[in-house]
Amino acid sequence: MKHCLVVDDSRVIRKVACRILESLQFVTEEAEDGAAALDACRTKMPDVILLDWQMPHMTGIEFLRTLRRQNDGTTPIVVFCTTENDVGHITEALNAGANEYIMKPFDREILEAKFAQVGLL
């Protein structure tokens, strides 16, 4: 089973995303901001990270840039999932190494489609 780290400062969003992902046969883990996500990655690198943008301590984009510098630059797969829905933010995320981008609000169908697009389903 693939391992997905869900990074979001909203507990509700994390729970909703985890429930959907578990129904898609993912093992899930939660982190409430970028700093906690980095710690989780040091302990065990996930196959995919579902990543919010605006979070305290370390934002999603700061986390992604740090992750891409530290790792081999291409893994793990990172799918942004954020209310930052404008072209500028999307472009910035892709340039920083995001593989896909979900504009909140999302549902099971969107999550499933996006994970399929990056080869996880």
């Binding site: 829905n85 404008d86 072209v87 999307i90 472009t91 892709l94 896909e100 981008y101 979900i102 504009m103 999302f106 549902d107 169908e109 969107i110 489609a113 996006k114 399929a116 697009q117």
Partner: protein
């Protein structure tokens, strides 16, 4: 809704569109026709159906459109589009190299996502850059759906169903919470309202027909007639793409080494067509 009113509705739908409406769809009919009843100033669905069996043309059209299924998404089911891009298109560029002409028809395009998905693949292949003439024709029974398809404006929810983020940035322009298909892509598609029960003559010969998940809703007589006309419209070596769970008529056989839903004309039907076309 009385059984008699439902029978009148089902009869009109079959005559106008070939769609079969079984009695278990009565709750669906009620929910879909409520807005139509409101639009035309009726007290409710029962009052609307009291106009049947011979309603005014605009009512009959609105009822038919309301009862058709417009479920679609960009790159729906993914596999047919991947096969089109990776196998069919390269093969067609070889097979049609002498004419540099390719004609593709989306026969039940709903709100346009299937046609725009194909347009994106054709744009990536850049055949037009090598002087190919590509006709991408997209039709649907619903005038409302075709109007939306021509407009090319989709919600945030719609563009996230199947459309990779890179394709969204490349082919769409953001307008608030909506996304508009860029003119370059829109110019590649000719949209038109068309009923699959009508004469296909205006279409000419087509290399690839996408007719996914529509004929399965037709009654057997309308389905047979539609398959016959699809066969006449396809070039002898053309491909008919149905939904993955659909079965072609006797004049078609499953395409070799293709995903489910891809059909070519049977050898006999293709030979007959080649002789007739001289």
């Amino acid at each position: 809704m009385t059984p008699a009113a439902f029978a009148n509705l089902a009869d009109m739908l079959r005559r106008r569109s070939g769609l079969v409406l079984t009695p278990d769809k009565m709750p669906l009919a009620n929910s879909r026709l409520a807005p139509v009843a409101h639009l035309f100033g009726f007290k409710g669905v029962a009052s609307l159906l009291a106009e049947f069996p011979y309603p005014r043309e605009e009512i009959a059209q609105a009822v038919t459109e309301a009862m058709t299924t417009n479920e679609t998404s960009f790159f729906r089911d993914r596999e047919p589009f991947a096969y089109f891009r990776d196998v069919m298109l390269p093969a067609l560029t070889i097979a049609r190299a002498s004419t540099r002409r390719l004609r593709i028809w989306c026969a039940a395009v709903a709100t346009g996502q299937e046609a725009y998905s194909l347009a994106m693949l054709l744009d990536e292949a850049n055949l037009a850059g090598f002087d190919w003439k590509i006709d991408l024709i997209a039709t649907d029974l619903s005038a409302g759906a075709i109007a939306r398809a021509k407009d090319g404006v989709y919600s945030q929810f719609e563009v996230q169903r199947g459309l990779p983020i890179h394709a969204l940035l490349k082919h769409f322009t953001q307008e608030g919470n909506q996304w508009r298909v860029n003119d370059r892509l829109r110019r590649m598609v000719s949209f038109r309202t068309f009923n699959l029960l009508d004469n296909f003559g205006w279409l000419g010969e087509i290399d690839v027909i996408f007719c996914r998940n529509v004929l399965l809703y037709f009654d057997s007589q309308s389905k047979s007639a539609a398959f016959a006309r699809l066969g006449e419209t396809l070039v002898p070596d053309g491909t008919l793409v149905l939904g993955a769970t659909e079965i072609g008529a006797e004049s078609f056989v499953a395409a070799a080494d293709a995903p489910r839903g891809f059909f070519v004309r049977s050898r006999i039907a293709a030979s007959r067509a080649a002789i007739l076309s001289g």
